[in-house]
Symmetry: C2
Subunit: 301 residues, 2 copies
Amino acid sequence: MFSLAALSLRRSLATVVSGNKTSKLVRERLKLEVDKMKSEFSGFTPGLVVLQVGDRDDSNLYISTKLKAAAEIGIVASHVRLPNTATQAEILHSILSVNEDCSVHGLIVQLPLDSVHTIDTELITNAVSPLKDVDGLSCINAGKLSRGDLGDCFIPCTPNGCMELIRQTGVSVAGKHAVVIGRSKIVGAPMHDLLLWNHATVTTCHSKTQDLPAQVSRADILVVGMGRAEMVRGEWVKEGAVVIDCGINHIADESKASGKRVVGDVHYASANERAAFITPVPGGVGPMTVAMLMELLYGKN
Amino acid sequence: MFSLAALSLRRSLATVVSGNKTSKLVRERLKLEVDKMKSEFSGFTPGLVVLQVGDRDDSNLYISTKLKAAAEIGIVASHVRLPNTATQAEILHSILSVNEDCSVHGLIVQLPLDSVHTIDTELITNAVSPLKDVDGLSCINAGKLSRGDLGDCFIPCTPNGCMELIRQTGVSVAGKHAVVIGRSKIVGAPMHDLLLWNHATVTTCHSKTQDLPAQVSRADILVVGMGRAEMVRGEWVKEGAVVIDCGINHIADESKASGKRVVGDVHYASANERAAFITPVPGGVGPMTVAMLMELLYGKN
């Protein structure tokens, strides 16, 4: 008679869905397409502006990643930085200038806004022209996405990258039971929309969900974006599920020179034993985000 | 030993949640509020325009119900009817005129548009000023609702009426597992948003859902808007659930003079034996829709 432990040893671990590999493929394809477009339409170059307020370290890092990826593909990307003393009116003025600049095709306002003044972030993100809102954070884009007009809107990059990784697994989404943990504007809510309009039956869980392990256990496709280190345990995961982990959390690790390491929202080692496909952290969803941003920027122009 | 049948006889039937009664209360309250406002702000009267294209019988009926409810409350409602030969440009022109008319506070474009021409319904609903879009069908309203900005948008009336009926039961929504069947722009999708941002764990089911009975069986709160007569069977319903039925279907009934009768999407007799609360059809969600429309129109001005 097999013990449970022996039984679990008999199955192989999950296939790792690499964001590094997939995002590299996406970026290479985009580079070829941008080159082709430039030679066909002489003088045309896709342009991106990243607008930053203040000087947060994490924002600086994200922005430099975006600028580097853009440059590699052949997109002209510029970084507009306002001081942390910028007022709401000044930020709005900068956005309106970029909206009107026809050499710019995409405008990203890096969040959170780092200002000494009280700024209405909602007002700022909605000031970006819907035609240049490559982050997909304006109400108009969110409205189209949430109601299924996927062909006519910018899709936020993180959930878009998650969909691309799910596609890489070869698992079809239609008719599957998908569970999304988190309902943020940038990850959970648009992820729900994408899965729903790709015809999954979708359950959204969040901080008020009472029976998270039971909800997770029913997921054929599980996407986690809750921002809590290793919260989702492998024992909760359905055998054979696709597990996509959007979390980026720093936890203490004395074995590292930095004294910390990065983990996702899923407890990887245990989930790996039950899932059929799983994204690692780092190297999973993260690299996809920038690749999808570039795809959007290119695709709309 | 009890038989299963005897066991089921031992429990009482569900409490019927009457839309007729609740909507009457809402309308009475609104009438008092409108009267008060008129006396405080001399000369002010809330104004509603219902724009119809063509002459569909069902639209005529819905519009007359809206106009009657508005008149009873003290709202000046007018019916603008364009012929079915109206072009898209003519319809847009009518909408823009109403947008600019400051005596009008709400504009409803009655759907479906009954025109001999091909009309882009999406374009038409998005032409309505977001400030007058009491149907809540524009992208901007949908975007706000889907991302949780409930205090800053018009909420479509049918799901808004469903929420009011759920409130009437006294059952709290936060932390409950809610299941919505249907993902239409006017019922299912905004219903999902309302339940989610009232902190339920929400599952959306639709035509591609593979295990509908199992999904339904987990619902503490079930809202059905799929447009299929008596599709949801009582056996699927969780004991003690709240069942809200948005369906309006005509089925053959030889015992009626008309040869037909109206039923919901839920098989009422069997669901009634398992639910704790259930809305009837007719007399459930239907009457609430118009009451909530009037509330929106009043509340925003």
